[in-house]
């Protein structure tokens, strides 16, 4: 571009270019009216700012490129190299296939020795999971590990339900063409089935249904502890019979005699030291008594009736005499046990008439215990 020198100073000159823009440039011995090309034009703050802006823009662009690169490579990695779903082919030989998001096999590994043998000389990486499964089953057939009509189980785990369904439908539609029975299950079922297999050692058709039932049965037989909820009544009745077999049977006929016995007890107040002795014996049943009362408290409509049956009556060491621990449990009875006899007759008066039939109904329990 040509510049017309408009004004000259010692250190600079004012030039006008062909676009009618005026610029300040170095005065390289110019004279006014001269036409020059390629002058040394002043870089003012404005151009510096623009330069800085350009540098900043470039930096931002580079950062954006880096982010895109990292993001893109991560996406590529997650689509191609990250395990998105896993399929275990379980027959005599068990093999685990790791699949990427596209459904291609990225890793093949054997779970057992037979699996190792099956995978010998085979590389299914990059292939579709159905293709690999078909090829593996073919190899299994050729090696005699699988024969027509055998059951082959597939266990699938996937990060998404849709992928799981897709894999399942693919396997269920494609694999049966090889004349094998196919059962597709969730990976969560896999450990159960393998444990079952180790027990049976011979996988056969129609078995997969069994393992689901079997597991719950096994723990029942081996572990007696879980059935706590229902059996405690009988079980706890039995243990109580070991230590206090006699005390309980009399405990239920007691209610009718209580009014009569009370005077006896009162007569035997000298025996009062017995109650302290009683705690020695009950400690074992204490736990079970703790449970029993809860159960029995729920059954009877009146808790006041239940209390004398269980807590207020304690067998003597010999098992013949019964001592009421009224002072311990009932505040009004504490008075009676301590000094006053008046409250005692009150207690039997009110509850007894209805209580009488109940012990009678409960009597059938008594013969069970021995």
């Amino acid at each position: 571009m040509k510049y017309l020198v408009m004004e000259c100073h010692d250190s600079y000159a004012v030039l006008m270019d062909e676009d009618s823009a005026f610029v300040t440039a170095a005065n390289l011995h110019y004279s006014v009216g001269q036409t020059v090309t390629d002058p040394v034009i002043m870089s003012d703050t404005h151009t510096e700012k623009r330069r800085n802006a350009i540098v900043l823009t470039r930096f931002i662009a580079a950062a954006a490129c880096l982010v895109l690169l990292v993001g893109g490579s991560y996406t590529y990695y997650s689509y191609n190299y990250k395990t998105y779903s896993t399929v275990v082919i379980s027959s005599d030989a068990s093999v685990r296939m790791s699949l990427n998001k596209k459904g291609k096999v990225i890793k093949l590994e054997s779970i057992d020795e037979s699996g190792k043998e099956l995978l010998e000389g085979y590389d299914g990486k990059g292939k579709d999971q159905v293709t690999v499964a078909n090829e593996l089953l073919e190899i299994g057939k050729s090696k005699g590990m699988i024969s027509n009509g055998d059951t082959v189980e597939f266990f699938i785990s996937s990060e998404s339900k849709s992928n799981y369904d897709e894999l399942k439908s693919e396997i269920e539609s494609e694999i049966p063409k090889l004349n094998v029975n196919v059962y597709v299950q969730d990976m969560e079922e896999y450990p159960k089935v393998t444990t079952k297999k180790t027990e049976t050692t011979t996988p056969k058709a129609a078995e997969p249904a069994a393992p689901e039932i079997a597991p719950p049965a096994a723990p029942d037989s081996n572990k007696p502890q879980p059935p706590v909820p229902e059996k405690p009544k009988a079980d706890k009745a039995a243990p109580t019979t070991d230590n206090n077999s006699k005390p309980q049977p009399p405990a239920k006929p007691d209610p009718p005699p209580t009014p009569n016995d009370i005077p006896r007890d009162n007569g035997q107040t000298a025996v009062v030291p017995d109650p302290p002795a009683v705690p020695d014996a009950p400690p074992v049943p204490e736990h079970k008594e703790d449970q029993l009362p809860h159960e029995k408290e729920e059954k009877p409509d009146r808790p006041d009736e239940a209390m004398p049956h269980i807590h207020n009556i304690v067998p003597d060491e010999e098992g013949d005499t019964l001592i009421h621990q009224l002072p311990v449990l009932h505040a009004p009875l504490i008075r009676s046990a301590g000094k006053d006899i008046e409250p005692l007759p009150e207690a039997p008066e009110t509850p007894e008439p209805p209580e009488a039939p109940k012990p009678d109904e409960a009597t059938p329990l008594i013969p069970d215990i021995p």
Binding site: N27, V32, M42, D44
Partner: protein, 241 residues
């Protein structure tokens, strides 16, 4: 080195506003400029050396771009001079393979420029330059009436192409409407609103470059044929429209 830093800074700030003060400051600091050039050239600079002109220009540039935040002025100026000389050296290095017309031929001991057939007329060229100088002198005088100097115009000239195009659009509109130019000469005021309205450009853009518009509008009036010929492309655009 810096006997009174505050004094220099105040001189620099004055020189920013006044081109004469800038010239005086440069004149006062010529020894400094020469020494900086000598450091670069590794020899004392001659007054005909382009490097000295570049160093003086760099010093003027430092005056314009200096602020107190940048520290000592002379250090800043020294760095600016050095950078400018390096840039100039690199630029010259690029055209190193070229042969100078002033170079003498070894056999004939004549300058190369003498061997080239010269078609252009020196007399005509000198005449043209004198005419151009006369035009520029007239323009400068007329600009003084408007209170505008060439340096002001250079400072006020649009930097971005888009802004330059906006101004040129307004100038073209004024050239196509001679009554506007007549009004401009009569009132000595740029009819910004009418230009903005007629050229359909932003008034604010024109206001920002008022002093620049004064110079270009004056060139568009009668009597500045040579300068109009120089910026013909700009004015042609107006004729095409």
């Amino acid at each position: 080195m810096e006997p009174n830093a505050n004094q220099i800074v105040s001189q620099v700030y004055n020189a920013k506003k006044d081109s004469h003060a800038a010239d005086e400051l440069i004149e006062a600091y010529m020894p400094f400029i020469r020494s900086e050039t000598a450091k670069f050239l590794k020899r004392p600079p001659d007054s005909s050396d382009d490097e000295l002109s570049i160093a003086m220009f760099a010093f003027y540039e430092s005056i314009r771009n200096y602020s107190r935040l940048r520290g000592s002025f002379l250090k800043f100026a020294s760095l600016q001079i050095k950078n400018r000389l390096i840039d100039y050296f690199r630029k010259e290095k690029r055209s190193k393979g070229m042969i100078s017309l002033d170079q003498t031929d070894e056999d004939d001991k004549n300058e190369l420029i003498d061997t080239i057939s010269d078609d252009h007329d020196d007399y005509a060229e000198t005449e043209l330059r004198e005419a151009t100088q006369q035009e520029i002198a007239e323009l400068s005088a007329q600009m003084n009436d408007f209170g505008v100097s060439m340096t002001d115009v250079a400072d006020n000239s649009p930097r971005q192409k888009r802004t330059l195009e906006i101004c040129n659009k307004a100038v073209r509109y004024a050239r196509n409407n001679p009554e506007l130019l007549a009004e401009f000469l009569r009132t000595k005021k740029v009819p910004i609103s009418r230009l903005a309205e007629g050229a359909d450009v932003e008034r604010k853009s024109l206001e920002r470059h008022r002093r620049y518009l004064v110079a270009v509008l004056l060139i568009c009036t009668n009597g500045y044929e040579i300068m109009r010929g120089h910026i013909m492309q700009v004015l042609k655009g107006g004729e095409e429209q």
